[in-house]
């Protein structure tokens, strides 16, 4: 009887299938070996980024300009000496309008000596001529539509599911596009590693249930930090939004920052 199925045919096909499976296994082993060279990870497990949504908020009325947060950030994240900051404090001094000028708000004088790390000297305007003066802590604004993520040519920076904007130092080529793209000036090129760096919300701390270093040391609770997906009783973030009228920095740019500021003046940029 002729069926069209010969022994040679079946054996051949079986052999080919077996060879295919063997190649796939070999390829997988080879892939693992290749990746062991290129990718190594000795990281702790047990933290699921999809189950958190971290957020920071700033209450300008409470900031006393002591600079502890700036110093703590530098220590915690090994930020090099010099004009490199992941967070910094700006001092706004708004002088009184000149009599007869009929302006309501004069232009603010902004300074941040050494990021405000060692406090602030006497204001640039005599005390009697100051209309308003306050401190504004700055950090990564955690934009919904981050320009820095969009411009990265190698995909080294990304929005994480838990709300941080991070940089993969292994992939960053240090081209500096993101530093130009950030409208808030929150990024810098680390002169030691030659990669871009920015506020990570102290990712190595929040994944272990600790507060970011700046929030930890802030003496006046001007920095509010919390997890939107796991609110605690008396949640500081919830209370912040209930008790304050908030604004974001540069809302006209459409970056939709997630960091909100309470008690902000129109002069703050």
């Amino acid at each position: 009887m002729k069926t069209g199925v010969s022994r040679r045919n079946v054996l051949g096909k079986l052999g080919a299938a077996f060879a295919g499976i063997m190649t796939a296994t070999a390829a997988k082993t080879a892939k693992a070996a290749v990746q062991k060279v290129f990718v190594s990870s000795g990281a702790p497990k047990g933290y699921d980024p999809t189950k958190h949504k971290w957020l920071m908020a700033i209450d300008i009325n409470k900031c006393i300009g002591c600079g502890l947060c700036v110093e703590a950030c530098k220590k915690e994240n090994n930020v090099p000496e010099g004009p490199f900051f992941r967070t910094w404090i700006e001092r706004y001094v708004i002088p009184k309008p000149k009599p007869g000028s009929f302006t309501t708000r004069t232009e603010a004088i902004v300074d941040s000596p050494n990021g405000g790390m060692h406090g602030f000297p006497e204001p640039p305007v005599p005390v009697g001529e100051i209309e308003q003066s306050f401190f504004v802590p700055k950090l990564c604004n955690l934009c919904e539509h981050s320009p820095c993520v969009q411009v990265c040519p190698v995909g080294a920076t990304f929005d994480t599911p838990d709300g941080a904007v991070l940089i993969d130092p292994n992939y960053c080529i240090g081209c500096g596009f993101c530093i130009q793209a950030c409208p808030y000036g929150c990024r810098f090129l680390n002169p030691v590693t030659k990669t871009a760096e920015k506020c990570t919300l102290c990712y190595h701390r929040i994944t272990r249930g600790l507060k970011p270093a700046c929030v930890e040391v802030c003496p006046s609770e001007a920095r509010i930090f919390g997890d939107l997906k796991n609110p605690v009783p008396d949640d500081p973030i919830k209370k912040f939004y209930e008790n304050n009228r908030v604004q974001v920095l540069k809302p006209h740019l459409g970056t939709e920052p997630r960091v909100s500021y309470a008690g902000m003046d129109k002069e703050v940029r």
């Binding site: 290749v34 990718v39 990870s41 702790p44 300009g65 995909g155 991070l166 701390r205």
Partner: protein, 146 residues
Amino acid sequence: MPPQIVRLVLLTITIVGSYLVARFFLTPSSFGRYGWYRGEALEELSSRPRSFAGKKACEECHSDECLKLSKAEHHGLSCEGCHGVGQAHADNPDIKIDIRTFSECARCHEANPSRPKWLKQISTKTHYPGQKCTECHVPHQPQEVP
């Protein structure tokens, strides 16, 4: 099929094939776990060492001091804000905290017109110059007299 077309097809297959092989081997296995990036980068970034231990770690041994502080005006202050970085001390209590990382009272309480009005401020030039703050004030209980 004309030979020039065959050559072109073979060349295309070789280029596309070598690209696919390279992609298979070089794409990190965690790529795409959370998005268009290497998922393991998150774990790597979270495995960095810390220098601040946090108030909870201080409370484990210094609970009496923390309790005193929690009842006083300075209750919102973190230990490490004034006493300096403490992860090394928390890991090994024999290592003392570096006194150079301490912060002084004037850091927050020196008068400055930019500071909010609710904060108690003094000028160290006119407010008992030359004397130590702790001669009249208790840092943990600012309302008490030593």
